[in-house]
């Protein structure tokens, strides 16, 4: 199995920001999040509130957990390891102390070790895809990773940028919105979910892949693995150690809830409908 000597390890970036708000389209109580069509049968919703000063959403007391797309990314990495196609899976997360819990969840799923990049306070509030990608690119070089798998986007900010920017910074090929990925000799075959349907590409390693919903179904950690996770190491690193400046180039001007949905109007005939549309200036 020559694969294992060539592919050293897979780094899986975990996003721990945000809530577990998915299920039905949730604009009604998730002002920052847009229409979600993830059909996961999770019924608990966390009501997202905009901060009174409108600079963001309230995160105090909101339970943070692994971004669902990142869970799928971790699962894919572990599957590769189980097939003996990769030697080591490293789970990485950037954020304050709490993200260690999320890294441990990844370890309980089967990752070998973790790296916690400490970013807290004001820096964490303004941490965005560009800074994270820089951190990630630096880590990938340091760890000599052969494959980076991330969730396609975080469900709190929906940026869908980190994977792409990381690939650009490293000058690596990227396979985004992956619903299937296979290692074939020294190339990675990725089936991408695009607006027009499915696109299959072959990219060279090292590469960046972002996971989409249908890539796999993440496993539940088994009790023995939860126990083993305790012994696995999580290294602590600061962005400065990697030569990355986490200062944000963006300034959030304001954050608002989406406008309340107004009741519609029922009309009797098609003529009435056209009339109403003309009145509203839509036709």
């Amino acid at each position: 199995m020559h694969r294992s000597s060539e592919v050293k390890h897979v780094a899986s970036y975990l996003n721990t920001r945000g809530c577990e708000c998915f299920g039905q389209p949730c604009e009604s109580h998730c002002p920052v999040l847009t229409d979600r069509t993830i059909h996961v049968q999770l019924k608990t919703f966390i009501k997202i509130r905009v901060k009174p000063d409108r600079t963001g959403v309230v995160t105090d007391g909101v339970k943070h957990s692994m971004n669902p797309f990142c869970e799928i990314a971790v699962e894919e990495a572990i599957k590769l390891k189980e097939k003996k196609l990769v030697k080591e899976v490293v789970a990485v997360s950037c954020g304050p102390q709490q993200v260690q819990e999320t890294i441990r969840t990844a370890l309980a799923m089967g990752a070998d070790r973790g790296i916690h990049v400490e970013v807290s306070g004001k820096d964490y509030e303004t941490l965005g895809p560009l800074q994270v990608s820089k951190i990630f690119a630096a880590l990938a070089k340091k760890e000599q990773a052969d494959l980076i798998i991330l969730g396609k986007q975080a469900i709190d900010d929906d940026c869908n940028q980190t994977g792409q920017i990381t690939a650009a910074l490293l000058d690596w090929p990227q396979g985004t919105f992956a619903s299937e990925m296979t290692l074939e000799a020294d190339k990675l075959k990725v089936v991408r979910e695009v607006d027009g349907g499915l696109e299959t590409i072959k990219i060279n390693l090292p590469a960046v892949v972002t996971a989409d919903l249908r890539l796999n179904t993440p496993r539940y950690a088994t009790l023995p693995n939860i126990m083993k996770a305790k012994k696995k190491k999580i290294a602590n690193v600061k962005p400065a150690d990697l030569g990355v400046d986490v200062c944000s180039r963006l300034e959030v001007l304001k954050v608002d809830e989406p406008p309340q949905r107004q009741a519609g109007v029922k009309v009797e005939t098609v003529d009435d409908l056209v009339g109403k549309l003309k009145e509203a200036g839509r036709v």
Partner: protein, 407 residues
Amino acid sequence: MSSALLPSSRLTSVARWHGVRCLSQLAELPELHQMMRQTCRDYAQKELAPIAAQLDKDHKFPAKQVKELGAMGVMAVEVPESLGGAGMDYLAYCLAVEELSRGCASTGVIVSVNNSLYLGPILKFGTEEQKKQWITPFTTGERVGCFALSEPGNGSDAGAASTLAQQEGDEWVLSGTKAWITNCWDASATVVFATTDKSLKHKGISAFLVPMPHPGLSLGKKEDKLGIRASSTANIILEDCRIPLGNMLGERGMGFKIAMQTLDSGRLGIAAQALGIAQAALDCSADYAHKRTAFGAPIGKLQAIQFKLADMALAIESARLLTWRAAMLRDAKKPFTKEAAMAKLAASEAATFVSHQAIQVLGGMGYVTDMPAERHYRDARITEIYEGTSEIQRLVIANNILKEYQQ
């Protein structure tokens, strides 16, 4: 830790043995247990809660889910890894059963019976050979076991077992009827209690391991129960049921002791199940209190509802701490009989109280099957009856108290 903080002299002595560890575990669980609890909670929310109502309507055994739980290690929490289990402690097991029961009470009891009532006695009293044969295949969720103690003629009066076991050459021949056996229609083995020496009364009862199906063992009709309908309950009828001599569990005449010790632990599993049901009922009520409006505001603003929610939460939290403490005492190999009885009594009475109040909070919606409150009410009721009725728990507690104050 000054004794002023610890009113009970028993608690002080336990704490002195283990230092702060015991008390801090009551305040906050260790990280390992928290992770494990979260995993079970996620599983229950995603995989059990959505199907619980349908499982109840169909009286359907959740075979797929039981296999998945087996793969996670939850069907054999305390069994050492060498035998195929998760190798965790009893506190972890109680947390698992509570979280799973919060999603589906029937699944909770299926997990509990397999862990505490079937694997428990074999782990404690079985020979190495018996452990390999009767434990390992039952850790994966592929097979579940059951526990046959009660009979049509005796439930609480366990010492009056009339099922007989007679030795004939190199076989035991069992005959009699066992009643109210949880899991039996889905089980692949059972621990059966039968009298080997009628004259010795309860000291003449022995325990046996019987595979299922087996010639001479047949099952009665599935009981049509008020609640926990996805778990099967029926009679086990033994007629000239022959098993090898090596199938006796423990020593001859040890059966009653095995049963009582097994139930001591089993009742913590039921306490955990009751906590899960109560918690689910509270979840449902608190959610409704936020959403339902009456008199111009959400009903959660009304004191009548607030007092109910407070009493419900208090009942659950008190019972939960009793359960955790009893589990921790058991893990520390300290006597825990009194505490386990207190936990089961408190938790089961909390479950019936909380689920009753939950229907009250939901009003009309609590009475219909559209909301889960009615199912929690039906599921809760059995927790005051099986694995030791509330009356028996009171006797156990009273006996222990009187012993402590022995003149």
